[in-house]
Assembly symmetry: C2
Homo-oligomer: 309 residues x 2
């Protein structure tokens, strides 16, 4: 799957993923009204609105992009109905040949990580039958519990040709509280990065590893260092756009082959119609605004990569 | 809710929770057969088996214990059907007046943690209506992203009178890989513990804080130190029983009032009938075996606490 991601990035010239993190406050009134008219102001109504919103954005952008990153919390907050919208979204993205990065940030002790890995990336056995409940292509994983929390994910990835991104340096303001603490003179995130590099080395696709890392766009200097530590890993880069990251900051997250990173934007794309820049589209045409925002994002990053050459 | 937990522990003399972490391999054949006969070898069939298994164990133990700790991964692996069994289990435990600790180990950047906190401990708004999708009483939370990943959970706890347990030192073999690394001469888990203590201080119930910590039974020496660092926090202690922790190791996890800790056992209780010690009950009477194992666990811990006096 990591090769497919690399190939799709080369083909689209778009090392990006669209963060499908729907909040009800982003969803245009006409979609909400229709969903609530059909299902009431219920969890099922919210889930229907989320799904219709996602579908319109996917339809308007899928030909431009290699991948999407649904944040499962935004679905999970609406209970099982929300998670059904998550599943529907994942299945629809597959139909459109988009790679799905499930931003689930799971991680637990060994036997429990086995269950998460099976549910999100692999299959679970029921009697003589097998099912792939959530069926993402990649998942994000939290490293706090160490190797035996990560290993079950890697095992499933190997078997199913899927991949993971391990949290190394996250994009949020307080990420440094623990991640930046110095251990033998180097910050914790570098030690986690070293471990990712170790795992990556022994779990390779053709040119890149299917063990990648999450590194926030909001910390470009650290990104440069981490790029060096994990040369064979793809970096998943949140924090672009609404969180403050800019294309000009991102050049060092990439390798010289122009690959090795996939930049996520959520709010900046899916709620583009709320920005002054895209207001001309109007709420009705929110998906067209998203398409325009995707085109601008690709140009911003492409420009930064070319300027860095 | 933390006061309710303390009171229920005093009343039952049982500072424990039963880990409702059902694996299909634990579930007796007659329950599986019946569920598969009704729903087929499907995710719904697996979910039904899980639910019937849980229900029998809850019925056989609820009068002895203050709390349960369902591990959501064991449900999530069966997709939305599994999560419906999780919800049913939580609701049934509430009916039996059991406190439910959702072992979800969520944690993300601020805006995303808001969604997790709402979905698991709080309520989510849909139009003019509110819903509590998963409705646990406590949730476990991962600290790797720092304060802004934790704060939304604390805010919801304050509003809803619920609580969290933050992962400090986990019970698994590789937990030391990052958690034990020394920062200014002290292991990372102590720094996380210090932070928990800070949050705990400002978020108090009557005598204990509703911000607690997860500390593995498998590391008793570290437990002793962490008890000192977080005097006002309840410690949630996994790793007893099947993972190797013993009652004798646990005395130092408690405060002098005999409170401040809740010890979890999962496999050791719910699959007790598979142990030689409880084999006499037979597979048919698995829930009676679980009851006997709960009684033995309470005695083991009570003995250790008395011996330490």
């Amino acid at each position: 799957m990591i090769q497919k991601l690399a190939e799709k990035i080369k083909k689209t010239h778009a090392p990006i993923c669209v963060g499908l993190d729907p909040m009800l406050s982003y969803i245009p009134g006409h979609i909400l009204d229709k969903a609530f008219a059909e299902f009431g102001e219920t969890l099922a109504g919210a889930a229907e609105a989320v799904w219709q919103y996602n579908k319109a954005i996917i339809d308007a952008t899928y030909d431009l992009i290699p991948s999407v990153k649904p944040q499962i919390a935004m679905y999970e907050q609406f209970g099982v109905e929300g998670l059904m919208a998550f599943q529907k979204t994942v299945a629809y993205c597959h139909q459109k040949d988009l790679i799905v990065i499930g931003d689930v940030k799971r991680g637990d002790i060994g036997s429990t990580s086995v269950a998460y890995a099976a549910g999100h990336l692999g299959t679970v056995k029921v009697g003589r039958k097998s099912y792939a409940p959530f069926d993402e292509d990649f998942a994000t994983v939290n490293p706090y519990l160490g190797t035996d929390g990560i290993k079950p994910f890697i095992d499933v990835c190997k078997e199913e040709k899927k991949g993971i991104f391990i949290l190394v340096k996250t994009s949020n303001p307080s990420s440094g509280e623990f991640q930046d603490r110095l251990i033998d003179g180097r910050p914790l995130y570098e030690w986690v990065g070293e471990k990712v590099a170790e795992w990556a080395d022994t779990h390779m696709g053709d040119t890149y590893s299917y063990v990648g890392a999450v590194v926030g766009a909001t910390y470009p200097q650290m990104g440069k260092v981490l790029r060096g530590i994990m040369p064979k890993s793809f970096l998943l880069i949140p924090g672009y756009g609404a969180q403050g990251g800019k294309g000009a900051d991102l050049a060092h997250f990439f390798n010289e082959d122009g690959l090795g990173a996939v930049v996520n934007s959520s709010r900046g794309i899916i709620a583009a119609y709320k920005q002054e820049k895209y207001a001309k589209f109007g709420e009705e045409n929110f998906a067209d605004a998203s398409r325009a925002a995707v085109i601008d994002m690709i140009e911003d990053i492409d420009g930064a990569l070319n300027a860095a050459k």
